[in-house]
Symmetry: C2
Subunit: 279 residues, 2 copies
Amino acid sequence: VPPFAERAAAAIAATGPLCVGVDPSPSLLAAWGLPDDAGGLRTFGARCIEALAGTVPALKPQVAFFERRGSAGIAVLESLLRDAKDAGLLVVADAKRGDIGSTAQAYADAWLRGPLAADAVTATPYLGLGALGPLIDAAHATGRGVLVVVASSNPEGREVQEATTRGGATVEARLLADIGELNRQGAGGAVGAVVGATRGPPAGGAGGLAAFLGAVGGLLLAPGVGAQGATPGDVAALFAGCPPGSVLPSVSRALLEGGPAGLRDAAGRLRDELARALR
Amino acid sequence: VPPFAERAAAAIAATGPLCVGVDPSPSLLAAWGLPDDAGGLRTFGARCIEALAGTVPALKPQVAFFERRGSAGIAVLESLLRDAKDAGLLVVADAKRGDIGSTAQAYADAWLRGPLAADAVTATPYLGLGALGPLIDAAHATGRGVLVVVASSNPEGREVQEATTRGGATVEARLLADIGELNRQGAGGAVGAVVGATRGPPAGGAGGLAAFLGAVGGLLLAPGVGAQGATPGDVAALFAGCPPGSVLPSVSRALLEGGPAGLRDAAGRLRDELARALR
């Protein structure tokens, strides 16, 4: 199996640097004229795949909006994952899961091997990067990815993410360094990082995160483009030192709120704008 | 609606201080002679409810073990949540969810209002306690709880949880202080904390967390009793300054691996041991 970082880079090279978040929130379902139920979720997902296959390399369904409908919503997500794959899209399940031991193993079984297997799953590191070992091992074995949430796009996240670890680095810098080490030591690109595109230069100066970002050796997923305020120029500045094909900006509301009709064209324009900025 | 902290304290006063984790891992399903499928999950949950209703105040299903089976597993969890409630048990959904904005709202809809509504849900604070606002608001409005993972029982968690925030406090101390403040400022006991029972006295001396723990004003869930190594005495020492009825130790593997036959008696003995230690 080719490592996930290679598969992602190939998809980005072939189609362009844009991931679209499939976020069927109550307000977006209403804007699309769809009912707020499992049927509405199903139609929303199908229209996203129809509009976006071939136009962008990847979709990122936000699991919470499916979980909101319980088992009926998760059944819709299962179909969406299969259909997106059949349409040639990479799929990142935005689940932000994280736990320890046999529970981390169960999340690996769910999101990397089982009925909900996606190309990659997002994970939260509050219990330590080491606790995500079962997810990382499963990703490595299957050519899939674990994208660890490192620096979020919201201001409330700064307190934890910029706290100082025993060695003197911030939590976010430490995580990026450790992820790079994991990829070099055998994970081979299975581990990526989620770094909010609105993150901007860190408090310690623009150089603070740059060296670590460039050495991650896995996919860098950058949500926060559009509605949350980041421009293609912001993305290019934040990831200036990163290898080609390693940065995947993600947009959701800003594209989706226009409805399904113009989605393909709008996504294509933003993809091209990002490609120029990241060149 | 009575606040969650009051409901939990009343249940602990009536039945005793023990929560049992419903963790149908592949190895526990095998130990119980059950198949590793949705039917096995269903039987496992039903036997836990049958053995434990009236013996302990609360169950804590680990969501990952249900998610492992996709929508079929989540459907089993929906039934388990209803059946446990009908049997008079409080239920904490151990989901460790966490996200921002409309996504945090969707998790609140799922776990505190919708088809998966439990008495409380665990949440992860990596994106900041403030990002959990929609969950906390929903919990407060419905008499339910959000239990924020603050200090975990695994060693890999120490790096993030003991990092130093800008104000000089550790991440875990800062979170406990902020949770106490939220409960005093209007959340009224809807927010609790998950503090691993194996946590032991913090690096900065035994007094480090004690003052914060005693002032949380919400339920303190303490996993890690038994298989992970904490004794009733460890629990009593860690939570020495906390009000009666605010501490709920949680055990899983150590009780469950004995199989369903002796579960009620074993749980009753551990509950009594914990009651004596916490007196």
